[in-house]
């Protein structure tokens, strides 16, 4: 569908640019899958962007909402997407047809940076490189369910799944935490809602033959076996031994879902895992791509005629703002800083011990290890470890970074500190788990009544209450029994509950 409906060969002019940029990128040691460029008009590009870069996704209104926003932003002149690239093999990259040729050059160079990053960064190593097919497959399955069970029914269920889509364990693709449990356990569980009596095999018989055809001791044994099974189910339903991050997995294994619902939830979970590394490496990925477009363009790509357009575009991309860090800017500057430090040998115990500021300024051991180092960094780090390892006090001062906090009394965000420690802590807090709350499953059989009990690991920021209540409602739709979440309100532990019809907030009394 994809290749037949939208594929157009690249115009000769762009094909030449692509060849040049690809050769330059290879010369610098960038390593990428084959990259296929497509030129799209803004509507098409917005559609792809709304679909997360994929031409075929399952039907859902949120894509339409995203598209509407992108198109409005563009027509009001507020924003513009120049390019998009997706993590697949081969890599697909989309260019905006109305880009000027200078923009196209820059963007193509930028794309090769991303492609190299996708292929080599460790955090992407577990992603499905054939996601294009997988997405189309998801769409086909979803359409089948819509045909069979009705649009609204499926949509409502998808909405509920999406509400908890971020409750995944982002590190789990890299660690085997435990053996996966069998879905059989969950489907056996499903029976419990429909049958009250343990099922025994009773053959049809005449009264006088009954004792022979259905011997009482066999029946009794069967009842016992059923009870055993029931206990086993109870055990399975009960809480995970340690709180479990992957709430979606817990739901897949234990929620009373119909087969199609189970499949829909697993589709949502698969896609969430596919997109997770992109969120984990936003700063590095954009920084890396920007580093390479600027290197390739300024060394080779830019002609006299291009220079103004290039400078304009590049500075636009790098623009900083006081209430939001620009990942492009932070990424490229930090990479450049690392390159410089490793070129000059400004690392290691000797450098750490040195307290003389003048000596530090003059420090240059001419090691020339910079390029090698940043290639290593792009291979092993994600945003959190990147900032944790390489952010320095000097860098914070040079980049004019600060930490801001929300001031409840004025209802404004205010600059809180320019201390290195504070900035770094804040940055890391914001990046860890995408700056979202940590939610765990603590108990799947709360109060021994089959209720679901989640736990918010409090890190100093309270949950947004209206969202939390709405999310609980959606979660209840999946669990089909009352759901709870433990969190902090005004420094005291509280439990928010939803029982299918009403919400409740209770303070937890510590015994």
């Amino acid at each position: 569908m994809f290749t037949t409906s939208t594929h157009r060969p690249l115009p000769a002019e762009l094909a030449a640019v692509q060849d040049e940029m690809e050769a330059r990128a290879k010369d610098y040691g960038l390593d990428f899958f084959k990259t296929i460029f497509e030129v799209l008009d803004y509507e098409e590009l917005s559609m792809f962007a709304a679909y997360g870069g994929f031409p075929v996704r399952y039907p859902h209104w949120r894509f339409g909402a995203e598209y509407d926003e992108l198109m409005k932003g563009y027509s009001y002149g507020l924003q513009k997407i120049y390019e998009m690239v997706i993590n697949t093999d081969p890599c697909f990259a989309y260019l905006l047809s109305c880009n000027a040729i200078t923009d196209q050059k820059l963007v193509i160079a930028h794309v090769y940076g991303h492609c190299d990053f996708f292929k080599n960064n460790a955090w992407f190593s577990h992603t499905n490189r054939k996601m294009l097919d997988q997405m189309a497959n998801h769409a086909a399955r979803m359409s089948r369910y819509i045909d069979r069970y009705g649009f609204e029914e499926v949509e409502t269920f998808v909405d509920a799944c999406l509400s908890v889509e971020d409750l995944i364990d982002m590190h789990s693709p890299h660690i085997r935490r435990r053996e996966p449990e069998q879905r059989a356990a969950a489907s056996a569980l499903e029976g419990k809602w429909t049958e009250d009596e343990p099922r025994v095999t009773r053959f049809k018989s005449k009264d006088y033959m009954d004792a022979y055809i259905n011997p009482p001791d066999v029946l009794e044994a069967e009842v016992r076996a059923c009870e055993e099974k029931e206990k086993e189910r109870e055990r399975l339903r009960s809480f995970p031994e340690t709180p479990q991050r992957d709430v979606l997995l817990f739901l897949l294994e234990h929620a009373p879902l119909k087969d199609w619902q189970h499949d829909v939830l697993s589709i949502v979970r698969d896609e969430a895992y596919y997109f997770a590394p992109q969120g984990q490496t936003k700063i590095m990925n954009e920084g890396w791509a920007s580093y390479w477009h600027s290197k390739i363009m300024t060394r080779h790509g830019v002609t006299d005629a291009d220079i103004i357009d290039y400078a304009d575009h590049h500075s636009g991309t790098m623009a900083t703002s006081r209430n939001r860090l620009n990942p492009y800017k932070l990424g490229i500057e930090l990479l450049k800083d690392i390159e410089e430090r490793w070129n000059k040998g400004q690392f290691g115990p000797e450098w750490e011990r040195c307290t003389d500021i003048r000596e530090k300024l003059r420090w240059d051991k001419q090691l020339g290890l910079g390029r090698q180092k940043i290639f290593e960094v792009r291979r092993v780090h994600n945003d959190v470890t990147f900032i944790d390892n390489f952010l320095t006090p000097e860098f914070c001062i040079k980049q004019n970074l600060f930490e801001y906090r929300f001031n409840e009394s004025t209802n404004y965000y205010e600059i809180a500190s320019r201390e290195f420690r504070a900035i770094k802590t804040q940055l890391l807090n914001g990046l860890t788990n995408h700056g979202r709350p940590f939610i765990y499953v603590k108990d799947g059989n709360y109060k021994n009544r089959g209720e679901l009990y989640l736990w918010h690991q409090f890190e100093g920021i309270e949950l947004r209450m209206d969202y939390a209540n709405d999310t609980l409602e959606n979660l209840g739709r999946l669990w089909r029994r009352p759901v709870h979440i433990e969190t902090m309100i005004d420094d005291k532990p509280h439990v928010l509950s939803f029982d299918g019809s009403s919400h409740e907030v209770q303070e937890v009394k510590k015994i």
Partner: protein, 369 residues
């Protein structure tokens, strides 16, 4: 090519419209959409519709920024962080709105559904007709401006191929006189229904801005509904205190006079307007009068006479909305109530405050006239 995103977009729009419909009562009584009215579209701010997640709240949240500024300096209410770039909780509270464009026609439909308005049965349907040209046929002759390029080309191409003149190496087609085809028209006669709306408003000192706001909102909805019911609408505005004059829309809503009130002066102007421009045989005439009910005592009798003799017999509907005012006595409605039973097309409504607009519109337009 139909794109799959259109399917998602139209579903999204459906959901948004559903939301607007749910809260239509709120939108009816608040005037926020009036200022956003375009030619055929109204844009309505609708709270953003999104999928809820567990998220951090504002309390205790913060982030990192880049730039100048002293410690303690406010940097704003925090930008929205749409794609999860990682600043904790820097989303603004509930101020996230999405502009939704809705056609006036659609709005009128929603209004009709919400208020259960009957369709209007226009009078004089058979008497008034208009002629329209519809370009539905093809002719061999015609003015060059109507030449049908595609058909002419096709015909020329077919002729060229048939007569073996077509050269594949040099595919030039020259149409001859015979090839040329023109678009042709038919004249169709259609019944046409027109309506004239005459707004009368008391602008004496006792009508405050708040009362005018109510009138303005109510007039917006009346216009929206009537426009959806008629092919053509004429709207005229009359203001009065002790004397009356016809004004334009802008002046109508923004004039404030002091002095006494003589309602009959406005009736006189309305009568003149009708007599001059809108013959009752051809027009559906609507009068909407808004006042705080204060009138010069001796004038009431004249008013009733004029209404009964001249105005009510020619109007589809005469609606009197009495806006509650801290200064007005509100006695005029009592006068009108005396003749209320005799006239089916006289509608009276008292509007206490903005919340009252809803019921008032329902009373005015619920008659189906």
């Amino acid at each position: 090519m139909s794109r799959s995103i259109d399917r998602d977009l139209s579903r999204f729009k459906q959901i948004v419209r559903g939301r607007v419909r749910q809260q239509l009562r709120k939108y009816i009584t608040h005037g926020e959409m009036i200022g956003r009215q375009g030619r055929d579209l109204v844009s309505i701010p609708v709270p953003n519709i999104e999928i809820p997640h567990f998220r951090h709240g504002k309390k205790g949240s913060g982030g990192t920024g880049q730039g100048d500024g002293e410690v303690g300096q406010p940097i704003g209410k925090g930008q929205d962080d749409a794609d999860g770039k990682g600043q904790a909780g820097s989303e603004p509270g509930d101020e996230h709105f999405r502009e939704v464009d809705i056609t006036l026609e659609e709005l009128a439909q929603m209004l009709a559904q919400e208020l259960e308005l009957p369709r209007i049965e226009p009078k004089g349907k058979d008497q008034i007709s208009s002629q329209k040209d519809k370009y539905t046929t093809i002719r061999r002759t015609g003015p060059e401006s109507l030449r049908h390029l595609k058909r002419t080309y096709k015909r020329a191409l077919r002729r060229a191929i048939m007569s073996n003149e077509y050269d594949f190496a040099r595919p030039v087609i020259v149409p001859t006189r015979d090839d040329r085809l023109y678009r042709g028209w038919k004249t169709v006669t259609q019944p046409e229904t027109n309506a004239a709306i005459i707004y009368l408003m008391d602008v004496s000192g006792s009508m405050t801005d708040e009362q005018k706001e109510i009138v303005r909102i109510e007039a917006f909805w009346i216009d929206t509904w009537l426009k959806s019911q008629y092919d053509g609408i004429d709207i005229r505005y009359v203001i009065h205190d002790a004397v009356a004059k016809e004004v334009d829309e802008e002046t109508f809503y923004h004039t404030r006079e002091s002095g006494g009130t003589r309602i009959s002066s406005a009736y006189k102007i309305a009568r003149e307007i009708i007599a001059e421009d809108y013959s009752p045989e051809e027009w559906n005439i609507y009068c909407f009068q808004f006042s705080d009910g204060d009138n010069w005592g001796e004038d009431n009798k004249t008013c009733l006479e004029m209404l009964v003799q001249d105005i009510l017999p020619v109007c589809n509907l005469f609606c009197y909305g009495q806006v509650e005012s801290p200064y007005g006595s509100g006695e005029f409605i009592r006068e009108l109530k005396r003749i209320h039973d005799n006239f089916d097309n006289l509608v009276l409504s008292e509007i206490a405050d903005k919340e009252g607009i809803y019921d008032s519109i329902k009373a005015f337009l619920g008659k189906g006239k």
